[in-house]
C-alpha cells in the first residue's frame, strides 16, 4: 500500500525510529481510552462487584420501617437451603443442556444449506436473516399468538392436517419446548452467520482433492469440513451458552416462569425475588451465581480466541 520510500530502509533502524516517534504519546493514548474506559468501569465492571457486594445485605422489617442490614453470606446460605432455587437452577441447566447443542447443530445445518454462491442463494440467505431484526420480545409475542392453544395459527394448521390441538406453553410438559422453539426461531440464523463465515474459510482445493481421492460427500464433511469448523462452532456454543444462561424475556412475557415452575429459570427467579418480593440482596445472590458461571464460560472463550491457538 505504502509508496516506496515512505518506510525507512532496514528493519532495525525502523524500529528505533518508530519508538522515538511514538514516545510521549502514552498520555494521548489514555485520553483516547478514557471515555470508553469510564463507561465500562462504571456500567459493566462495577455492577459485577455490586452484585457480589449487594448480596451481603438483606432487608429487615421493624416497627420503624424496612432497614438494610449486613447479613454476610446469609443470602447465599439461604439460597442453598431453598428448594425453589435448586429447582430453578435445574430448569436453567435443563434448558441450556438441550437448547445450546441444538442451536449449534441447527446453525451448522442451516449454514450448509445456504452456503451456495448463486444469486438465488444470496436472496434466500437474506430471507433467513429476518429474525435477526426481530427483537426477542416481538418474537415471543408473535409466537405466543402463533401457539395460542385456542385460536393460534399452529393449532389451526394441525387441525387442517387432522392432528389434535396442543396446549404448548400452557402445559408444564410443553412450556420449555415452546420457549426453545422461540429461541431457535430468533437465534439460529444469527449463529448461522458465524458458521457460514467459517465455511467460507474451508479451501475448495482440499474438498476437490478429497473428492478425486474418492471420498463421498458425507466423508468430505466429516473429515475435511467439520475439523476446520471447530473454532467457529466452539465460538457459537460458548457465546450461545452465555446468552441462554440469562434468558429472561420469554419467561416474562409468555409463561411467567410457569406452569408450576416448569420455566422458572434463574434469571426470571432473580427478577421476581428483587422486584416482586423486594428482596434485592436475595436477587443479587442469584445474579452472583449466574455471573460466576458466565465468567467461567467467558474465560474459556478468551482462551479460545487467543491468537496462535488456531489449531485448538
Amino acid at each position: 500500500m505504502a509508496a516506496p520510500g515512505s518506510t525507512s530502509p532496514g528493519g532495525g533502524s525502523h524500529r528505533t525510529k518508530r519508538r522515538r516517534l511514538f514516545q510521549g504519546d502514552e498520555r494521548a493514548a489514555y485520553l483516547f481510552l478514557l471515555p470508553a474506559a469510564l463507561g465500562l468501569a462504571l456500567f459493566r465492571v462495577y455492577p459485577m462487584l455490586e452484585a457480589v457486594g449487594g448480596s451481603l445485605y438483606g432487608q429487615v422489617f421493624s416497627a420503624s420501617g424496612p432497614h438494610t442490614l449486613f447479613v454476610g453470606l446469609g443470602n447465599i446460605t439461604a439460597l442453598l437451603g431453598n428448594a425453589v432455587f435448586w429447582h430453578s437452577l435445574w430448569v436453567t441447566l435443563e434448558l441450556n443442556l438441550v437448547l445450546n447443542p441444538m442451536q449449534v447443530v441447527l446453525a451448522l445445518a442451516l449454514a450448509l444449506m445456504v452456503q451456495g454462491r448463486s444469486r438465488a442463494m444470496a436472496a434466500y440467505r437474506v430471507l433467513l436473516l429476518v429474525p435477526i431484526g426481530v427483537s426477542l420480545p416481538v418474537a415471543t409475542i408473535l409466537w405466543r399468538l402463533m401457539l395460542d392453544p385456542n385460536s393460534g395459527f399452529v393449532n389451526a394448521l394441525l387441525a387442517f392436517v387432522g392432528l389434535p390441538p396442543q396446549p404448548f406453553y400452557t402445559s408444564a410438559s410443553q412450556a420449555l419446548w415452546s420457549i426453545m422453539l422461540i429461541a431457535n426461531w430468533k437465534g439460529v440464523s444469527y449463529w448461522m452467520v458465524f458458521v457460514l463465515a467459517g465455511l467460507q474459510g474451508v479451501p475448495g482445493q482440499l474438498l476437490e482433492a478429497a473428492a478425486i481421492d474418492g471420498a463421498t460427500a458425507v466423508q468430505r464433511f466429516w473429515h475435511v469440513t467439520l475439523p476446520l469448523l471447530r473454532r467457529p462452532l466452539a465460538f457459537v456454543l460458548v457465546a450461545d451458552t452465555v446468552i441462554n444462561f440469562v434468558m429472561f424475556v420469554p419467561m416474562y412475557l409468555l409463561t411467567r416462569g410457569g406452569p408450576s415452575g416448569a420455566t422458572n429459570v434463574l434469571m426470571y427467579q432473580a427478577y421476581k425475588v428483587g422486584f416482586a418480593f423486594g428482596d434485592m440482596g436475595g436477587a443479587l445472590a442469584i445474579v452472583s451465581v449466574l455471573l460466576a458461571v458466565i465468567l467461567v464460560v467467558v474465560a474459556l472463550q478468551l482462551r479460545l480466541l487467543e491468537p496462535g491457538r488456531e489449531s485448538w
Binding site: A2, F22, D25, E26, A28, F32, L33, P35, A36, A37, G39, L40, L42, F43, R44, P47, M48, E50, A51, G54, Y124, L128, V130, P131, G133, V134, S135, L136, P137, V138, A139, L142, W143, M146, F153, A156, A159, F160, W185, S189, V193, A239, V242, I243, F245, M247, F248, V249, Y252, L253, M267, Y271, F275, M280, A283, L290, L291, I294, L295, L302
Partner: protein, 281 residues
C-alpha cells in the same frame, strides 16, 4: 440412481428449503397481514384454516390508528428512536476512539485493558441489569433518558470491531502523518475514520439494534409513561386485558419494521461486523 429417484430427491430438497423459509418468514408475515385485517377476519380464516389468513381481504389501517390515538405510539416511537440514535452518536465516538488507541497507539497496560473490554463484551447485559439498577439508583438517574442511554454507550463489542478494522490499516500511514507533525486527533478523524466507513456502519447498527431491542433494562430502569420505549409498550399492550390481536400485530410490525429496514439493505456490513468481532480473533 434412477431418473425418478433423482427427481424425488430434488423435490424433497425443494420442500425442505421452502419449509425452512416459511418457518422463518411466516410469523412476521402473519403479523403484517393480521395488522391490516379486521379483527373478526383474523380468526375466521383460522378455523377452518384457509390461505386468506396470510392475505388481507380488505386491508385497513384501523389497528395502527388505534395505537397512535389510544396508546400514544408516536411518543413511544420517538422515545425509542431518540434513545437509540443518541446511543449510536455517542457510542461511535467513544468506542471508535478506544478501538483506535488499541489498534494504533502504544501504552502500558494495553493487554489488561483490552481483556477487560473483551470480557465486558461477552457478559450479556441481562446478567448485569439488576446490579446496574442498584448503581443507577444510587446515582439518582432512574426513570430518565440518561438511565436508558448512558449504560449502553461504552460497548466492548463495538470497541473490538473498530480495533479489528483499524488494525488492518497499515501503521505506516499513521507514522508518516506523525512525522509531518499531525496530532493523534487529526490522524483519527482525518485518516482512520474516513477509511473505516464499513466498521462505522457495522458498529452503528450494532448499537442501534441493541437499544431498539432492549427489554429487561428499560423494564426496571424506567416507569414513567413519558420514557416508555417500544418493546415495553408492546409488552404493556399484550398484558392489558382485552387488547385486540390486530393491535398486537400492528405494534409488533412497527417494532420489527425499523431494525429490519435498516438491517436488510445494510446486512453486508452487519454480517461482516459480527464475523469480525466474533470468530476472527
Amino acid at each position: 440412481m434412477t431418473v425418478a429417484g433423482r427427481w424425488l430427491g430434488r423435490l424433497g430438497l425443494g420442500v425442505l428449503y421452502a419449509a425452512v423459509a416459511l418457518f422463518f418468514v411466516v410469523p412476521l408475515w402473519w403479523a403484517l397481514v393480521g395488522s391490516m385485517t379486521p379483527l373478526n377476519a383474523v380468526f375466521a380464516h383460522l378455523s377452518p384454516f384457509d390461505l386468506h389468513a396470510l392475505w388481507p381481504g380488505q386491508p385497513t389501517l384501523r389497528a395502527y390508528g388505534q395505537l397512535f390515538r389510544q396508546h400514544d405510539f408516536a411518543r413511544v416511537l420517538l422515545n425509542t428512536a431518540f434513545v437509540a440514535l443518541a446511543t449510536v452518536a455517542a457510542g461511535l465516538v467513544v468506542n471508535g476512539m478506544a478501538g483506535f488507541a488499541f489498534a494504533v497507539m502504544r501504552f502500558r497496560g494495553k493487554r489488561v485493558l483490552f481483556v477487560i473490554a473483551l470480557v465486558s463484551a461477552m457478559v450479556p447485559a441481562e446478567a448485569l441489569a439488576i446490579p446496574l439498577f442498584e448503581l443507577v439508583g444510587q446515582l439518582g438517574l432512574l426513570d430518565s433518558y440518561a438511565a436508558l442511554i448512558a449504560p449502553a454507550v461504552s460497548n466492548g463489542m463495538a470497541i473490538f470491531l473498530f480495533r479489528q478494522f483499524f488494525a488492518e490499516i497499515p501503521v505506516d500511514l499513521a507514522e508518516a502523518a506523525r512525522l509531518d507533525g499531525a496530532g493523534w486527533g487529526t490522524i483519527f478523524l482525518r485518516l482512520y475514520l474516513p477509511l473505516s466507513l464499513p466498521a462505522t456502519i457495522a458498529a452503528g447498527l450494532l448499537l442501534f439494534v441493541f437499544q431498539w431491542e432492549s427489554f429487561l433494562w428499560p423494564l426496571i430502569a424506567v416507569h414513567s409513561q413519558r420514557y416508555t420505549v417500544i418493546q415495553i409498550a408492546l409488552a404493556n399492550l399484550q398484558q392489558q386485558h382485552g387488547t385486540e390481536w390486530t393491535q398486537i400485530f400492528a405494534a409488533s410490525t412497527l417494532a420489527a419494521m425499523v431494525p429490519l429496514l435498516l438491517l436488510l439493505p445494510l446486512q453486508r456490513f452487519y454480517v461482516q461486523g459480527l464475523v469480525r468481532s466474533g470468530v476472527k480473533g
